[in-house]
């Protein structure tokens, strides 16, 4: 299994993960739909997962891969809470556009 992963140089994994991570960050910063922002956050987390498994395979150290499971479990918990919050907002405002949420100003 290791040998297949190591066919591709480590740098390629780093570049790919960095690219996916940047797409996620840009999505969070630019999009105004709460669900899309949320998806972009998941994209960031998954790029981290990819990078962790690559590092872990290259170092022959299993702890990185175990960390990936932690991230997936926590991300699932976050999705549950996050979607509940978005549904709550939708019930009250009939919209998931974050631009409408500007009542709090100082």
């Amino acid at each position: 299994m290791d040998s297949i992963i190591r066919v591709i140089p480590l740098n390629y994994y780093i570049f790919l993960s960095a690219a996916i991570f940047c797409i996620g960050v840009l999505g969070v910063l630019l999009r105004r739909n709460a669900i899309i922002i949320f998806m972009s956050v998941e994209l960031m987390l998954n790029s981290v997962n990819l990078l962790l498994s690559a590092f872990s395979a290259y170092r022959s150290d299993p702890s990185g891969q175990v960390f990936v499971f932690f991230i997936m479990a926590v991300a699932a918990a976050e999705v549950a809470v996050g979607l509940a919050i978005i549904v709550m907002i939708y019930r009250n405002t009939n919209s998931v556009d974050v631009n409408l949420l500007d009542k709090l100003r100082g």
Binding site: M44, L45, V81, L101, K103, L104, G106
Partner: protein, 466 residues
């Protein structure tokens, strides 16, 4: 370890108790007694008795024990003060308790971590219940909005934190703090871009969690929109945990490469203090004002990270003393705000007009806690700022100390705006005299005020425990 297990069981218990309509007063009493029992156990058995668990992923050293006790103590005091807040809520009260307790479990993991995996899990276990608590007023649009903002920003930061952890792992090959530290000691000149980016990401994520500038934008909105009790919880207990983790990560683990990050901390601390105190001057909503005040206090606590070259026990003492004094003063002030909000549906400063005349006890609590937050002697807040500034000057950061002192003076101005409303303005109506507090509330409040003064006169009780 015992703390984590018994608090988790307590959380599950109060969740199930809500299902069977157990008396909420009884659940509250059981929760407070258990929390205080865990506090006593942790302080009694783990102090001066290093204790590692889960293959060294958690380490209850003296630092972790002190912060755990601060977190548990603040939570217990806050729960004792909760009567005014929960008297307005009709249902799901025990769920509040259980979410708060689950959040505290995460915080204990945050201050006791010895492995970056535990740091991540601790932050998440703390944050996920908080997202729910912030949005717990389901019909209130402000609460909804602050919940969504907090959630989206928090999830975004989680991604950044994880990227930082991953890059540090890629460079050092381990999640274990002591392995990372010894790697840095051997490769002190290592400045590969992966390491630097990882360090910067970790710094940004931790700065977000303690609401330090330039990552503070969520704080005023979230503090203003969430229910007052949760605001109090976030600005005291969550702050203690955030700083516990921040300090443990940077002061202990990243100390060998401190040259890389001290400048960033310098700039962040100066920015945080200045933005916090200058923006607070223009606020008319007390919760928003306290949010900016908590931002500026975060700046003072950030300064303590610059003391890497100082004696360890002195730096630990300074940060711990600051955290304790800030926390008890804030809790005392928030208890007054919750009492006022019970009769007035407003959190603007005008709602506090004539409070001292209508209710002298609340007036005194507010006066002492505000004096402590502003940093006036003989309260604890004065010496807290003094110790931080003293070591700042000793470490050679004279300019930073000057900026901090200037902002402390601005701070006195906006804190006294609240105090003037309480003492020297006439009340608009009679509603403030309707506040009725139970005997327990009065006793705890008076003890807290005495605590603020005693800590200010005998600082060694906390300052020199390490």
């Amino acid at each position: 370890m015992v703390a984590l297990i018994s608090l988790s069981i307590l959380g599950v218990f109060s969740m199930i108790a809500g299902l069977f309509n157990v008396n909420t007063k009884a659940v509250l009493t059981i929760s407070i007694v258990t929390i205080l029992g865990v506090l006593g156990f942790t302080a009694g058995f783990h102090w001066n008795n290093d204790y590692s668990r889960f293959y060294d992923m958690l380490n209850f050293d003296n630092y972790a024990v002190a912060f755990t006790c601060a977190i548990l103590g603040s939570t217990a005091i806050l729960l004792l003060f909760s009567e005014h807040f929960f008297s307005n809520i009709k249902q799901y009260i025990t769920e509040y308790y259980s979410l708060i307790i689950f959040s505290v479990v995460g915080m204990i993991a945050m201050v006791a971590f010895d492995n970056l995996a535990m740091l991540f899990l601790g932050i998440e276990i703390m944050s996920v219940p908080l997202y729910i608590l912030v949005g717990s007023q389901k019909k209130n649009l402000l609460s909804n909005e602050s919940s969504l903002k907090y959630f989206l920003m928090g999830a975004f930061t989680t991604g950044i934190l994880l990227m930082g952890i991953t890059l540090i792992y890629g460079e050092t090959g381990s999640f274990d703090l002591s392995t990372i530290q010894s790697y840095f000691q051997e490769n002190a000149t290592d400045s590969s871009p992966i390491l630097l980016v990882g360090l910067f990401f970790l710094l940004a994520a931790m700065a977000f969690k303690v609401s330090a500038a330039p990552f503070h934008f969520w704080t005023p909105d979230v503090y203003q929109g969430s229910p007052t009790f949760i605001t109090a919880f976030m600005s005291t207990v969550v702050k203690i945990a955030g700083f516990g983790a921040f300090f443990r990560l940077f002061y202990i683990c990243f100390a060998p490469i401190s040259e890389v990050w001290t400048t960033a901390i310098w700039v962040m601390a100066a920015l945080t203090i200045t933005i916090g105190s200058i923006t607070a001057v223009f606020q008319n909503d007390i919760k928003r004002l306290l949010a900016y005040s908590s931002i500026s206090h975060a700046g003072y606590m950030l300064i303590s990270l610059l003391m890497v070259k100082n004696v360890e026990s002195e730096a630990f003492g300074a940060i711990f003393y600051y955290v304790i004094s800030y926390s008890i003063s804030s809790i005392a002030l928030f208890s007054v705000i919750m009492a006022v909000q019970k009769v007035k549906d407003s959190s603007s400063i005008d709602a506090f007009k004539g409070l001292a005349k209508a209710n002298p006890l609340l007036g005194i609590i507010a006066a002492v806690s505000i004096a402590s937050l502003a940093g006036l002697p003989p309260t604890a807040g004065f010496l807290a700022k003094f110790y931080i500034l003293k070591s700042t000057v000793e470490s050679g950061y004279v300019w930073l100390a000057l900026i901090a002192v200037t902002n402390a003076i601005i701070g006195i101005f906006y804190y006294f705006k609240v105090l003037i409303a309480i003492y020297f303005k006439e009340a608009e109506d009679q509603s403030l005299s309707l506040i009725a507090s139970s005997l327990a509330y009065k006793i705890v409040a008076v003890l807290l005020v005495i605590g603020i003064l005693v800590l200010g006169i005998f600082p060694d009780l906390v300052y020199s425990i390490f």
